[in-house]
Subunit: 469 residues, 2 copies
Amino acid sequence: MDSADEKYDLVTRNLQEVLGGDIIKEILASGKHPKCYWGTAPTGRPHIGYFVPLTKIADFLSAGVEVKILLADVHAFLDNLKAPLELVNHRVKYYEYILRAVFTSLGVPTNKLIFIVGSSYQLTPEYNMDNYRLCATVTEHDAKKAGAEVVKQVASPLLSGLLYPGLQALDEQYLDCDFQFGGVDQRKIFTFAEQYLPRLGYRKRAHLMNEMVPGLTGGKMSSSDPNSKIDFLDEPALVRKKIKGAFCEEGNVEENGVLAFVKAVLIPVSRLRIRNRAEAQTGAESLPTPFVTEDAPEGALFTIKRPEKYGGNTHYSDYDSLHNDFKDNKVHPGDLKSAVADALVSMLEPIQKTFRESADWQAVEQLAYPPPPSVAKPKKKKQVYHPPPPGKGKNAAAAPKDAPAAEPASSAAEGSSPAPPVAPESVSVPQPTVAPPVPEVDAAVPPTIADAVLNALSEAVISNPEEKQ
Amino acid sequence: MDSADEKYDLVTRNLQEVLGGDIIKEILASGKHPKCYWGTAPTGRPHIGYFVPLTKIADFLSAGVEVKILLADVHAFLDNLKAPLELVNHRVKYYEYILRAVFTSLGVPTNKLIFIVGSSYQLTPEYNMDNYRLCATVTEHDAKKAGAEVVKQVASPLLSGLLYPGLQALDEQYLDCDFQFGGVDQRKIFTFAEQYLPRLGYRKRAHLMNEMVPGLTGGKMSSSDPNSKIDFLDEPALVRKKIKGAFCEEGNVEENGVLAFVKAVLIPVSRLRIRNRAEAQTGAESLPTPFVTEDAPEGALFTIKRPEKYGGNTHYSDYDSLHNDFKDNKVHPGDLKSAVADALVSMLEPIQKTFRESADWQAVEQLAYPPPPSVAKPKKKKQVYHPPPPGKGKNAAAAPKDAPAAEPASSAAEGSSPAPPVAPESVSVPQPTVAPPVPEVDAAVPPTIADAVLNALSEAVISNPEEKQ
């Protein structure tokens, strides 16, 4: 069993910033388990960028922290007003399946992992009364400042964008956490919560922030390019192909999603695995191994495999050495990519095995992400042959190309706050953990959908003396 | 029984503006009763400015309209975060007592009058989900524009001010009304509702607007001057004294609260009383009489009593003639004030009688408006006598004056949307029907108060899986 200090180090390692660390220290010193909240809106399909925050959450779980994962269904519904609600409900389930499988594959104890669906408390009178109380103390200026980095900045900002900082603050109280975890892009929202919760008579929470990590497949995100994200269920060959195509320039350590993934995921996971194997009472040999080859020295965390003629395998016991070697052109992008692909495929394997063995999960997947409705091909106009004018060769009239199925998700910045997929036309601004709705202003949502939301989301029965029509 | 056209005329007479009148016409043509909503926040103590909207509402009731009076307790609580909640609950009851008594004194049928407490529906999941949906479609710009005339304009505007237009729009849906009634200061909020409700799949409502009426005691309001408002329970002598002191300049018809009261209340009430007496099957003689003397010709609605030597009684069968006579100095302010005081005292009499005869109401009054806590007088410093320097006479050190008890209410503009009392330091900008909270930013409200709100306000039992601490 770790000491309180060791646990604190485990909880706070690899973070960019810790606010209110004393709160956590005090709880650990008293022998209790700190409680953490991390939120995600189940809008699109989670991609491997989620490994980044989940790897850090694995540290929390290893240190005995009680982790609550908020599946923000209400916000996901609002984010996509046109989508039928069933979709959101199914996606909530899909997210829980994926996240549980990921934690299991990371080999961390999940007995302190709790999933909470937002609608179970975010529509209660208590919560809403607190929201109104907060709105009666928060100025527009402060709300706007708090959301500046995570709320999409548009020409005509919506009220919802002003509400999110407050709602995220209230979630800390209603999820009864000691600290909230998120990407450093959440910093202003976090300090807002620290400032405003005490004004409602609630205690100030600590805030732990991951640094922002570029997407694994690197470079600029493009939602129209399906290669810019890797799905948890992508087959090994596809994973390798996508990583092979990732932007990873020789010697360039700045904009390098592949290197960033090693730092944020693979090295910490290796460290966790070594720890787990060392601590296991029995069966250590059956536990997952760190991402090193058998010839690696003790303490090695990551191996770049290379034929002898290119210098042979290189083993790293920390990230910085790899970083420096890559910068100095001592590691070739191709070799780095191979090593990362191997590690990633091995991490995905148990997740995909769980998926293959779970008929329930497979059914949920079908319901949550139904194939896009087959667009009726426009009737081809009967081609009338017009002979080209003299001098103009080949037929210029190409048959209409089938539009590629819209890919709803971009991987955005794979920071510790996985961004919900954004609409293709939106820029890849980091999104808040709980994403601001992207409304369809012109789309009238018939009341039947709102009714469906409530029937489906909330078990609460409330007496409303007035009948809605 | 009136025809549909006659009912429509009764519903819409004496208004400054009607939006969507066809909606009401259609309902009346089908033989149904239109449904109306009018809201008030039970913050301070209602004053006779409330006669203005209530007189118009009497028209609605006479025309068979179903009138819902929203007692916005949640907003009243938020308006006054420091006040214990019991106070708001007691004030809700006090408002209902007063408003019922006023309607009874006006002699209108109250079987279609319904009181609804805001917390009975404004904290439900349905309502809040709709609020979020609305916030996901409403831009900051539109919300700010809508509230420009009714939300207090301050240097650091609060989020609550941006929410009110939307909440007031939702109230139309949740109170199931066909039209909302308010002062013309509400115009932008009303058109906002017409624009946005259909975007949520709800129908557009009609909007009926009273003109804004200066306070009876006229001129600039001053909350530190208790004479600037007349309480429903003020004794006749006090009423007469206050009216005597009202600003009512000879020949000045512009800033004249006394004339305005005749126009907005006394003339319409006289008209109603004549109608009621004419329609009564039996006992017409026991019904209240119009504000005319016995020598008045048929059709007279208002009499200015004067001794013969000053021209004798003058009777008016419409407001305009009185207006013109006053403008032409044919009516002296003193005579006008006397006539108004007589009429008002006669209108208050049955209300005060009901109060005197109701032990329950009296008990509620004590609870709703407890006397301000007696401030312990600062111990007087022992006065040491310093003789004045030569040439300076009288003792300059005056004994500390007892601060007059703070008078929380100003009567503000006595339009059709009675303004909740505003804090002494605020300007007399018309307030929305549902007033924006005036928060105490530094006052932490302990969670126990929030709990009390919810226990007290809401009967709804909602399962919240997370325990609040």
